[in-house]
């Protein structure tokens, strides 16, 4: 079974047609980047995968759960599919350590000592072991985002969704976050990344999806080929705008 399967998915906000006839399959271990102009439905698409947005029609299977089925418990999907947000969304009232351990303790009901040890290992991996007792407000954007990644990893998810993880960061912070993401990708994590970091898409992505106006216009396994010769006119326009600014 594939990790994520969209079949003929439509999404409306009232009359606004946000996602149009989405068909997309993502295999386990794949790193898929989604690019496109703003308002093209990238984030909406991503947010349907862990049920933060409901689809209007079609079929969406994530880790063998049917998300179109109203009886499906969304919390079970979210346990298995992590999410990293543009604005980090760390819990402002909890320390860095507690941010990471809250999910494993409350949702997975795991042992506290064990969870904390793993949390320190994760913080070590993202280079923030000495920040464990601080609060999110005391950290820089890049540090917060690395904590957010550690928080989603602590749940040992089957996949992680990244919603423009570096868009809110100062330029000099971006590299550290992308390095952490690359490390995770190398370890075989299934990742869906909405991003404007074309370098990351090229280096790390196994596949690239180009969206515009709620549609998937291109879905290319040859990432470098896509950047060098995009087929769709909208993609050509987008790429040339990004590369020539």
């Amino acid at each position: 079974m594939s990790m994520i399967e969209f079949h003929d998915v439509e999404k409306y906000y009232g009359k606004f047609h946000a996602l149009k006839d989405i068909n997309l399959t993502i295999e386990r271990g794949e790193v898929v980047t989604i690019i496109g102009p703003s308002g093209s439905g990238k984030s909406t698409l991503l947010r349907t995968i862990n049920g933060l947005e409901r689809i209007s029609s079609g079929q969406l299977i994530v880790n063998n759960f049917d998300l179109a089925d109203k009886k499906t418990n969304m919390n079970k999907i979210r346990k298995n599919v992590g999410m990293v947000f543009q604005h980090f969304n760390l819990y402002a009232n909890k320390t860095i350590l507690d941010n990471i351990t809250l999910g494993p303790l409350m949702v997975l009901k795991r042992d506290k000592a064990e969870v904390e040890k793993e949390a320190y290992d994760l913080l070590d991996m993202v280079g923030l072991k000495d920040q464990a007792k601080k609060y999110p407000a005391m950290l820089s954007g890049g540090q917060k985002q690395r904590v957010a990644i550690a928080r989603s990893l602590a749940m040992k998810p089957a996949a992680i969704l990244f919603d423009e993880p570096t868009s809110a960061l100062d330029p000099e912070m971006i590299g550290d976050v992308l390095d952490v993401m690359q490390t995770i990708a190398k370890e075989g994590m299934t990742m869906v990344v909405v991003t404007h970091e074309m370098g990351f898409a090229r280096r790390v992505g196994d596949r690239i999806v180009f969206m515009a106006d709620g549609q998937i216009l291109e879905d290319a396994s040859d990432v470098n080929g896509f950047f060098d010769h995009p087929k769709e006119p909208r993609a050509q326009e987008f790429i040339s705008k990004i590369l020539n600014h």
Binding site: N50, N75, R78, G82, F85, N89, K94, G103, M106
Partner: protein, 214 residues
């Protein structure tokens, strides 16, 4: 004024006791009710929101005196006999709960929606996220307006005087009527209210400062 205070100390302090009692009960009651209706106002089901909203709008737009009279006059006619203290305290609780609900609702809604999404995205349920993430942040925000509500509540407890609730205001009225020393009596009553509200005011400021740093 001091003559009044000393000569009528027992009545005044008994009144103060009733005022404190009614205020304390109403404070706890309205905080519980207010939190409940605040949660309903932002609830996940439409009809729950409608009920929460309707309660708040109806209650906060009726004068406190009318609500209290309702419990003192109408409830005994149909349901059960209640004394003035009970009717007054219930009226005060219901009335204040609508304002507290609005205060808490706005506090919860001023916590960034990303906090809820962050919590839901790791699989916490709505109520777990509310309890562990949203509420602790909202509390800090609502402490100052909540303090206003609590102080208003203590002062509004003078409504008990209208339904024979034996509170401070009620005793003041009786003393003023028997001594004809209206000025001094109400001065003493005012002073006794201050003795209750000032520490409350400072307590809220203390909590505000204490929780700001965390």
């Amino acid at each position: 004024m001091f003559t009044i205070l000393f000569d009528h100390a027992s009545e005044l302090f008994s009144g103060l006791g009733y005022t404190l009692g009614a205020s304390f009960i109403a404070l706890i009651g309205s905080l519980v009710l207010g939190t409940l209706f605040a949660l309903m106002e932002i609830g996940q089901h439409k009809w729950v929101r409608v009920i929460g909203r309707a309660y708040v709008e109806v209650v906060r737009n009726i004068p406190l005196l009318v609500i209290t009279m309702g419990f003192y006059v109408i409830v005994p006619m149909f349901i059960v006999q209640v004394d003035g203290f009970t009717a007054g305290t219930i009226g005060l609780t219901i009335y204040t709960s609508a304002f507290i609900a609005e205060t808490i609702r706005s506090g919860i809604q001023s916590v960034s929606s990303g906090q809820m999404e962050g919590a839901r995205s790791v699989g916490l349920t709505y109520y777990q996220a509310m309890f562990h993430i949203i509420f602790p942040q909202a509390i800090k925000i609502v402490i100052p307006p909540l303090g206003n509500q609590f102080i208003n509540l203590v002062k509004n407890s003078s409504i008990l005087a209208f339904v024979a609730g034996f509170d401070l205001m009620y005793q003041g009225k009786i003393i003023a009527n028997s001594t004809f020393n209206t000025f001094d009596t109400y001065l003493a009553v005012g002073l006794l209210y201050l003795i209750v509200t000032m520490p409350l005011s400072y307590l809220m400021r203390f909590l505000e400062k204490k929780w700001k740093t965390a």
